[in-house]
Amino acid sequence: MSITISPHREDASQHGWQYRLHVDAPLLFSLIAVSILGLIVLYSAGGGDIELVERQLVRLGIAYTSMLVVAQLPPRLLQRLTPWLFITGILFLLAVLVGGDVSGGAQRWLNLYIVRFQPSEMMKLAVPMMVAWYLADTRLPPNRWKLLASATLIAVPMLMIAKQPDLGTALLIASAGVFVVFLAGLQWRLLAFFSVLVTAAAPLIWHFMHDYQRQRVITMLNPESDPLGSGYHIIQSKIAIGSGGLFGKGWLNGTQSQLDFLPERSTDFIFAVLGEEFGFFGILLLFTFYSIIVIRGIMISIQAQDTFTRLLAGSLSMTFCVYFIVNTGMVTGLLPVVGLPLPMISYGGTSIVTLMAGFGILMSIQTHRKLLPT
């Protein structure tokens, strides 16, 4: 089979530049809006440390660049590369388990001498791509054997990452894979069956959890049980958000954030800084941009022209949705503390690069469409 990237016809009047640059304007502007809001909150969370903001800007620059680069790659090329990406990722994960760098009590980093990176980040994209690649060539909805194969494709990397241990990422990757299967038409009966299975397996999962992970679940259920230990984070972040009220205490005026009461306030708990200083309406603004991004992603999925891109776009969008809902749920005390950053806003991490690469894929899918006559 020869790859012929046929020159697509331009949607001449309206979207010319978007197609030429392979960017999607609604997505891009929402992302930029969130990034700006994030930098503003980060400046405050870092206690007015401009260098922190500068380092984040550099990271954002890399992330946006990678998004633009990925957006140039046609979906067919991505589809072809998918198995190789997945296999490489699995090998890297193996390498990490055997000889990865230990950092913060978990083995997540692979030192390639030139760069240190987390293969689990790569898998955030590789897993949904792989499942979509696998299911794209089959008749939908997939039969049981196809489902079993898909489940294996999801479970193997997920368990390897959970073993590091990095529960947050493992869950994200699993949900990315599951979204693909669900979009591909997973039967309701089977869905119900799996739900029951997971519920029944809960005690088993509990058994395999690390002590600190169990503690987090206990803490979520009753943070006051250990107000100075593991409950401290949640109590302080609830105080920060709650005391912010409707309009917030004002930028740089959050006492919980500025006086060090709020832990990890520039990383995982940065949402509490937003809530304290900008109040409910500040959060609403962020949620609006987030919602636009998710809705736009789903639209791209619906408008996509083949099964692979449809499944992939839908999964990437919903994963992003899960991403911010899990973080905000955790910071507001609805979910256990799983150590996920607030996407686009939390300081640091390779995760932002992966995230933006994912949006690059969405843009690629949207802008490499062949416009069909209606």
């Binding site: 979009l183 105080i239 005391s243 006086l259 060090d260 809530g275 999925s301 099964t307 949705c321």
Partner: protein
């Protein structure tokens, strides 16, 4: 056909994925709604609750301890002051390994056992975020050594404060007392809200009696702090009110002369102004340096003070109860005259002993050969015992008791220092109620010369002497002359308190007794003639000797020192100048021997020191 199937599948799949995608979007929207409800609950419904918690986090109330009032003597010489002092504090919360920190600190600064044990006690009691003092009064060198190494000790800090210091050291320590760290016993008594932030409290003496005045009122400041407790800014501040300064009636110069005049003897001396009850000197010897007590004295040093045979910690002036011996004779003589039992010309023959009719026991005079025929003047001048045996016998114990109690014997003088003992003026009633025994006639006889049950404290003897000097005004002795409010600098003088005015039946009786006391010092045969010869002013005095046995029940039997310890106490009371008395003194020299030879010169030295200066 094939293509048709494919096309059909394609449409079906497209619709399937679209439906599922929209379904997911709806689920996402529902989750977002749950989040929004949660946020509304936190930020609207519970907003006030969390605002309160946030304020509690942010704002802390900090006590501002007041500066303790200073203590001056009557001439403005500083007796108690507050000096800057550095202390080392540890905040347990910020220390990972307390044991390692302490042992590392030990290499840099001195940590005594007492520091360590006090620290450990506080460590167990105080919350972990509160700084706990480890060392007080660090020297400059130690401060410097720690500062250089500070980076090695997170959670350890030096704070500057004020510490009590007594610049005169041991001078008048029994009057001044000292402050010490608040212990658990004191915590129960003190007003804990006013003592937030205060570490020391008066333990005895004036420091304890005037604690409330000296301490002042605690201030408060609301501060905004970080989670680590670092103060960002002060939100509001109620400044503390410093304690009042006290001006004492004591004269440091007189005090010092008095203390030195005792030489190595133990004992007590009180000098009082008979015009107003001002205490001019308040001596209890041996004395000790109060400064080590301020921040906790070493166990060894404290044991040395406690176990010292001479009992330096014992406040003899207030709590030493001694038989008055012959110093009671002027009061007895006056009692005889004023009650009409005797007159100026009553004579008694002294063969060197006295016997009750029908009894075998001889009550000996100190002079074995006897004084011959004596009147009151000779009996006082030469201290004839037989005269007063006879007088006491004639008066009976109850009349003696009733008259002498006007001079304050048997009850606390009311001096403004806590802990005074009342002495003992015996009576039939007392013996019946307290000892459940009848009174024996022989006990009356020895009471006449100040022996037996009769006990006085130096402060009582001095106030009684002052009453003799000023014509019968019983004054409440006072050691604080004036208090000075810190804010206004206004001096609030303490007014002299007259407790009682003794009824004078005949002024000549008083004059006669005082003339006899002048003869004690200034006549050729007076028992204290040694101090009268070169005196520029006229002194009225009376010597005394008190037998020691049974004096102090708690005294231990010690073979080596028994000889010295069994020696008589030497006593002397006096006032001067006779015409216009300005000072009255009472001296007790423990195991000093003769009142005239040992105690009287001390009185003379005190009077010289006071009267030699221009009157203040």
């Amino acid at each position: 056909m094939l293509g048709q199937v494919h096309l059909k599948d394609h449409l079906f799949e497209s619709r399937l994925i679209t439906n599922r995608a929209i379904l997911l979007l709806i689920i996402g929207g529902l989750l977002l709604s749950v989040l929004l409800v949660r946020l509304l609950y936190l930020q609207v419904v519970s907003h006030e609750h969390f605002t309160t918690l946030s304020e509690d986090n942010r704002v802390k109330l900090q006590p501002l301890p007041p500066n303790r009032g200073l203590i001056y003597d009557r001439n403005g010489i500083l007796l108690a002051e507050n000096l800057p002092s550095y202390r080392l504090e540890i905040t347990p919360e910020e220390v990972d390994d307390m044991g390692a920190t302490l042992s590392a600190l030990e290499n840099i600064i001195e940590i005594r056992d007492i520091d360590r044990s006090r620290f450990e006690k506080l460590l167990a009691r105080k919350p972990r975020f509160e700084a706990i003092p480890l060392r007080f009064h660090m020297g400059d060198e130690e401060v410097a050594r720690f500062s250089v190494n500070r980076h090695r000790f997170p959670g350890v800090d030096i704070t500057a404060g004020l510490a009590r210091h007594y610049p005169q050291g041991p001078l008048a320590v029994h009057a001044l007392g000292y402050v010490g760290r608040i212990d658990e016993k004191a915590l129960k008594v003190l007003d804990s809200s006013n003592y937030r932030g205060t570490s020391h409290v008066g333990k005895n003496g004036i420091e304890k009696t005037y604690e409330e005045l000296l301490h002042g009122k605690v201030g408060l400041q609301q501060v905004e702090t970080t989670a680590q407790g670092r103060i960002i800014r002060v939100l509001s501040r109620t400044p503390p009110v410093s304690g009042s300064n006290l001006y004492l009636t004591l004269d440091s110069h007189v005090q010092q002369v008095a203390e030195e005049a005792f030489g190595d003897f133990s004992g007590s001396a009180i000098a009082i102004d008979p015009n107003n009850g001002d205490i001019l000197a308040f001596v209890s010897l041996p004395t000790y340096d109060p400064n080590p007590f301020v921040n906790g004295i070493d166990y060894d040093d404290y044991a040395a003070l406690r176990n010292n045979d001479k009992e330096p910690l014992f406040n003899r002036a207030l709590r030493g109860q001694y038989p008055p011996g012959s110093t009671v004779k002027p009061f007895m003589g006056l009692a005889g005259l004023e009650t009409g039992v005797s007159n100026e010309n009553s004579r008694t023959y002294c063969p060197g002993f006295y016997m009750l009719a029908g009894k075998d026991r001889k009550y000996r005079d100190w002079k074995r050969s006897g004084h011959g025929t004596v009147d009151l003047n000779i009996a006082i001048t030469q201290s004839c015992d037989v005269y007063f045996y006879d007088l006491a016998q004639s008066m009976g114990i109850d009349r003696i008791h009733d008259y002498l109690q006007h001079f304050g014997f048997g009850r606390a003088s009311g001096i403004d220092i806590q802990g005074e003992l009342p002495g003992l003026l015996p009576s039939k009633e007392w013996k019946r109620s307290r000892r459940n025994q009848p009174w024996f006639p022989g006990e009356t006889i020895i009471t006449g010369i100040g022996q037996g049950f009769f006990l006085v404290t130096p402060i009582q003897l001095a106030t009684a002497t002052a009453a003799l000097a000023n014509g019968g005004h019983m004054l409440q002795p006072q050691i604080v002359h004036a208090e000075q409010e810190a804010e206004t600098d206004d001096l609030l003088p303490h007014q002299p308190q007259r407790l009682e005015t003794i009824t004078i039946n005949d002024q000549q009786h008083w004059d006669h007794v005082i003339a006899a006391m002048v003869d004690v010092v200034h006549s050729a045969r007076g028992t204290a003639r040694g101090i009268g010869k070169d005196s520029p002013y006229t002194i009225a005095g009376k010597t005394g000797t008190a037998q020691v046995f049974g004096l102090k029940q708690e005294e231990k039997y010690d073979a080596e020192t028994i000889a010295e310890k069994l020696r008589d106490h030497a006593l002397f009371i006096a006032f001067a100048p006779v015409d216009e008395p300005k000072i009255a003194v009472a001296i007790i020299v423990e195991n000093g021997g003769g009142g005239g030879s040992v105690a009287a010169p001390i009185a003379r030295a005190i009077m010289d020191a006071y009267l030699g200066k221009p009157s203040s």
